[in-house]
């Protein structure tokens, strides 16, 4: 048996891995041929739409299907929430109306809404105001902890000691910053809304479902429908955005399945745009009051903060672990308050907690620099510590430091930087620079790849994974192609079905590590078998055979080789089939790991008369271990930065304080950046051998973390005034300027 080493080839020894490739499904997507869940239309299907609750907090008194049933074209109505039910957020679906057309379904929903009666209850949606939340009885104590270098004496009261010690440390600090910062709730706003097209065949459910969890959703359908997971096929070839919000079967899709069973017809239910924004997922808000003390050099000695926010109707705030973010001062007191609001509960949003943690704490570090009249980059750098005595978590200080140097060069930081508020103005326009840093885990999830090699030489894989647009298909093909010495086009990748071998949900940047492991393992194992067959034929040692350039060739004697096709003809009549399995932590592996660092810098221009901010330039330097597919990796970073520009400058969920209604839940009013809003973006992939040797690490989350902090800091540097809450809308910029007249 040929020896198998589960490792990656050295960087200078690869022919496919780490090279630039077009994404496999690129042309299908660009020409409209790619079929998303929304595009799956089944014969004789019904179109279903949900009736959303018009009030953010109410008790249903009358709900009836009668009016809807009278609408021509309406076929079936299912009431989800009966009279007496207390509804805690606007948009929550109360009923589903299935009809022959979109128009008829919408008309049916309207008829039901007109007949709906409810008793309005008290609404609370303004969680930025902690005192108001307390007064409304919407707060609960969250986590919270204190860490101090000094310990209380045996006879001292612990709390009293902590209080005194914090005050002493602050008093002894050369520089103290007191600040209030925040970041509002945003939504996932997937362009393809949540939903499914479902049909029953012989008592089994086929759910075309917009999901980032192909392998893990069958059981979620099965349980409420009283069938087994084996009776459910979840299918998703392409998904129009997920960002952490599409892991579930969702009650509306299960309702669609019930209606399909009841009516004997396929049913399509995709959320309306406003419902997508109201129900499809949101990211918790975070607000913080902080006191930070630093020594004369700007090294942070003490951090004392209270932060709060909401994750929706169940409460919950930003995790305390990201406060302060990345940096780990030795004296630390954190108080966390959870707030319940009349809004749908949060869903995981790309890098849960981290973007908020960065945006509400790296601003305080920048304010320290401002207060000292110091260069922000120097202050960030000083607080990194050393690899032996780190002042940060996540990646090593040396990684952040090296990335800072690269970023600074790409930004031309030294030449452009000026003290906060002291830059030249052109008309009413001032410019500024800001930065922030971030970390993320990104270790691979469990994944199994079934790989088949046919006697004619063709290669096919099956894996119950999904491609969110990250390029998962392309990554898989690159890994298999590299391993078998074939071109990428030679590999047929199959994903998107729960009937394929199980692979983890695509969340937390876990996919690339997981599927690289499973596909590399499957391909190496299959290759070992082929090497044995070829060794027997060529009468050489299998251990001396490698796959390269479409051949199986001896490393000892280049004259001894067979073509890939010929090698595969040795397989016999049946295809060679192997399963490559990766279970997190199963064996020490050098093929994947976790823990990355990144540095980002922003250059902005601000019009002081209008409060309008424009991106001039953005630099993102990112470590991700071994880079499988640099072209798609770069796209991930470009995209993350643009998503960051979105929450830094544009997007926010606006809930009406009086009614709790999410008033801007439409594309026209849920403001997102456009192509002309992004400025110049420079992406640098950081892959020194020290980091590459750690293997594949996920990339989806990390680069989306820093833009909020970096852009806020750049605006503060431009104006000399902190605009405390993200997004930095013209309104907020003008209000901050009005409060702090320029000296």
């Amino acid at each position: 048996m040929a020896e198998v080493s589960y490792t990656w080839p050295a960087k200078d020894k690869t022919s496919v891995l780490g090279k630039r490739h077009d994404r496999l499904d690129g042309l299908a997507k660009a020409t409209g041929a790619a079929k998303y869940t929304y595009d799956i239309n089944l014969k004789n299907q019904l179109i279903a739409k949900g009736l959303g609750c018009p009030h953010a907090h109410c008790r249903i008194t009358t709900i009836s299907a009668d009016a809807a049933k009278k609408v021509p074209g309406v076929v079936h109505v299912e009431i989800l929430r009966q009279a007496g039910a207390e509804i805690e957020w606007e948009g929550e679906l109360l009923a589903v109306v299935a009809a022959e057309s979109e128009g008829a379904a919408a008309e049916g929903v309207k008829a039901m809404r007109d007949a709906l009666k409810y008793e309005a209850l008290d609404v609370f949606v303004t969680e930025a105001d902690l005192e108001a939340a307390k007064a409304a009885g919407r707060t609960t104590a969250g986590a919270g902890s204190t860490t101090l270098e000094k310990e209380a004496g045996d006879d001292e009261d612990e709390k009293e000691f902590e209080k005194k010690e914090i005050e002493r440390l602050l008093k002894e600090s050369a520089h103290v910053v007191e600040g209030f910062y925040g970041i509002d709730v945003i939504t996932h706003c997937c362009l393809e809304p949540h939903g499914s097209t479902v049909e029953w065949q012989d008592g089994k459910l086929i759910a075309h479902h917009s999901t980032q969890n192909v392998s893990g959703t069958d059981d979620q359908f099965a349980q409420p429908l009283g069938i087994t997971a084996g009776d459910v096929t979840v299918h998703c070839d392409h998904i129009g955005g997920g960002f952490g919000s599409k892991f579930q079967a969702d009650y509306w899709s299960i309702a669609a399945a019930r209606i399909a069973k009841e009516t004997g017809r396929p049913v399509k239910l995709m959320l309306d745009r406003d419902q997508e924004l109201k129900l499809g997922g949101s990211r918790p808000s975070g607000y913080i009051k902080v006191r930070l003390g630093a020594d004369k050099d700007g090294i942070i000695k003490v951090w004392d903060s209270e932060h709060w926010g909401t994750s929706g109707a169940s409460g919950g705030a930003v995790a305390q672990g990201v406060v302060p973010y990345v940096f780990t001062p030795k004296n630390l007191r954190r108080v966390v308050t959870n707030i319940k609001t009349n809004c749908a509960q949060q869903r995981a949003w790309r890098a849960p907690n981290h973007p908020q943690g960065c945006a509400i704490t790296h601003v305080a570090i920048d304010d320290l620099a401002a207060k000292m009249g110091a260069d922000s980059l120097e202050i960030f750098k000083k607080n990194l510590g050393t690899d032996d005595e780190p002042g940060v978590g996540g990646a090593k200080p040396s990684v952040y430091a090296a990335e800072m140097d690269i970023a600074a060069k790409l930004m031309d930081w030294k030449a452009k930087w000026h003290p906060h508020g002291k830059g030249p103005a052109k008309g009413s326009v001032v410019e500024g620079l800001g930065m922030a840093i971030h970390t993320w885990g990104g270790a691979g999830h469990n994944s199994t790849c079934r790989l088949k090699i046919y006697p004619d030489g063709s290669v096919e894989t099956q894996c119950g994974s999904q491609d969110l647009g990250t390029g998962t298909r392309t990554v898989m093909a690159i890994v298999v192609a590299e391993t078998l010495g074939l071109p990428v086009e030679h590999i047929k990748i199959n994903i998107g079905s729960s009937k394929y071998p199980e692979s983890g949900p695509s969340g937390g940047s876990t996919t690339v590590g997981g599927v690289s492991e499973s596909h590399r393992r499957a391909a190496l194992d299959a290759l070992a078998k082929i090497r044995d067959l070829v060794a027997a034929k060529l009468e050489v040692n299998a251990d001396d055979l490698v796959a390269a350039g479409g051949k199986i060739v001896s490393t000892k004697d280049a004259g001894k080789s067979v073509s890939w096709k010929e090698a595969c003809s040795l397989i016999g009549l049946k295809p060679l089939e192997v399963e490559g399995k990766y279970v997190r932590g199963m064996t020490p592996t050098t093929m994947s790991s976790g823990g990355v660092g990144g540095v980002q810098m922003a250059h902005v221009a601000v019009d002081r008369e209008t409060g309008v901010i424009k991106m001039k330039k953005f630099v993102a330097v990112q470590d991700m271990g071994l880079i499988v597919s640099p072209k798609q990796a770069e796209s991930q970073i470009y995209g993350a930065v643009i998503m960051g520009i979105a929450f830094a400058l544009f997007e926010q969920r606006i809930c009406d304080p009086k009614t709790g209604v999410f008033v801007n839940a439409e594309m026209a009013t849920y403001k997102l950046p456009r192509l002309g809003d992004i400025g110049e973006i420079v992406v640098e992939l950081y892959e020194p051998e020290s980091e590459r040797s750690r293997g594949v690490i996920g990339l989806g989350e990390p680069p989306v973390i820093s833009p909020g902090g970096a852009i806020s800091n750049a605006v503060a540097n431009a104006l000399g005034v902190r605009v405390p809450i993200l997004p930095l809308t013209p309104q907020r910029v003008l209000e901050a300027l009005a409060k702090t007249p320029k000296a």
Binding site: G611, P657, V663, E666
Partner: protein, 329 residues
């Protein structure tokens, strides 16, 4: 969408006939506003009359004495590039601000001017006045009116071109309800502040239709529109101003300044015009006009910042009209 009757007349007379006998009828032009509102079931007409196939509504002519007559269904992209519009940069600026090729190519002049308010309470199905204005007063009114908001109506007029048309002294030809009814109204007379639910923000009677917008000869006036926009793209500005000015010997002889997105109608600021007539135009006088324009602003609980934006929009529209730097981006 509720189902409705549909007709595609080809003459003005047919349009009037179809509007007269069709229950609650809506006029469909490019559809960029109406179709969305019908999908959301905010507007539920019994009949939709598509006026895009009426040839006389599509004309764009230069008449005697430099008058330009624009058919109501001429699309915005045509106006953006047509030489007849060269003397009226304020209109070009406004159309350019609607930075979406589909909206410009499908959208028509008549439809743009008579589009329904963007107010999120109205579009969320709460009625145009949102509980006689109380829901706006106590609610999130950050994008609402800072002028003309003492009554129940607190939304802002959404048209981006109307302020420019008004500043330039444009007239609308309105026909109907009866086949012989024909009026020429100043464009500003198309707008009103509704007093009670059911009343619209335009003055057209059921059965009336705007067929043309007529621009007077420019007569050496310069003009500009300045919109304060949060970002790029077609999204509505936070505030805007259109200005038309005529100089004599280096001093401003006439001026008309109209603000957009700040009141339930396009908002004509006589105060701003008064502040600069007789002066030369520079940063200081433009600023003075801006200040005068907003002196009587009455912001609601959350939209005080719009006063600064309206002031800046007036100042920059004037500077732009005079060919000077605005000081912004």
């Amino acid at each position: 969408m509720k189902n409705f009757e549909y007709a595609t007349p080809t003459t003005e007379a047919e349009v009037l006939e179809l509007l007269a006998d069709g229950g609650q009828a809506e006029i469909l032009a490019g559809g960029t506003d109406l179709v969305g509102l019908m999908k959301k079931m905010v507007i539920n007409p019994d009949r939709v009359v598509n006026v895009m196939e009426v040839p006389s509504f599509k004309t764009l002519e230069q008449l005697d004495g430099g008058v330009v007559a624009i058919g109501a269904t001429v699309t915005l992209d045509v106006l953006l590039s047509h030489p007849y519009l060269d003397p009226y940069p304020a209109i070009r600026h406004a159309i350019g601000g609607i930075a979406s090729a589909p909206l410009q190519c499908q959208g028509t002049l008549g439809g743009e001017v008579l589009q329904r308010p963007q107010c999120w309470f109205y579009r969320g199905g709460k009625g145009l006045l949102a509980a006689a204005g109380r829901d706006v007063e106590d609610g999130d009114n950050r994008f609402h009116a800072i002028f003309g908001n003492s009554g129940a109506a607190k939304f802002v007029s959404s048209s981006r071109i109307a302020p420019a048309l008004i500043a330039l002294g444009a007239t609308a030809r309105v026909v109907g309800p009866s086949p012989t009814d024909e009026q020429f109204l100043p464009v500003e007379a198309l707008f009103r502040i509704p007093r009670h639910e059911g009343e619209r923000e335009n003055t057209l009677l059921p059965g009336q239709v705007v067929t043309h917008v007529i621009l007077p000869p420019v007569d050496e006036a310069t003009s500009a529109t300045y919109e304060v926009r949060h970002g790029e793209g077609p999204d509505y500005p936070l505030a805007s101003a259109a200005a038309a000015i005529r100089f004599e010997g280096g001093f401003i002889k006439d001026a008309k300044i109209v603000l957009g997105q700040v009141a339930p109608t396009p908002w004509i600021s006589h105060e701003a015009a008064d502040a600069i007539i007789g002066y030369s135009l520079n940063e200081e006088t433009a600023e003075a006009a801006g200040k005068a324009a907003v002196a009587s602003a009455q912001p609601l609980s959350m939209n005080g910042y719009k006063v600064q934006l309206a002031k800046t929009a007036v100042k920059r529209a004037l500077l732009l009209a005079a060919g000077k730097e605005t000081g912004g981006f």
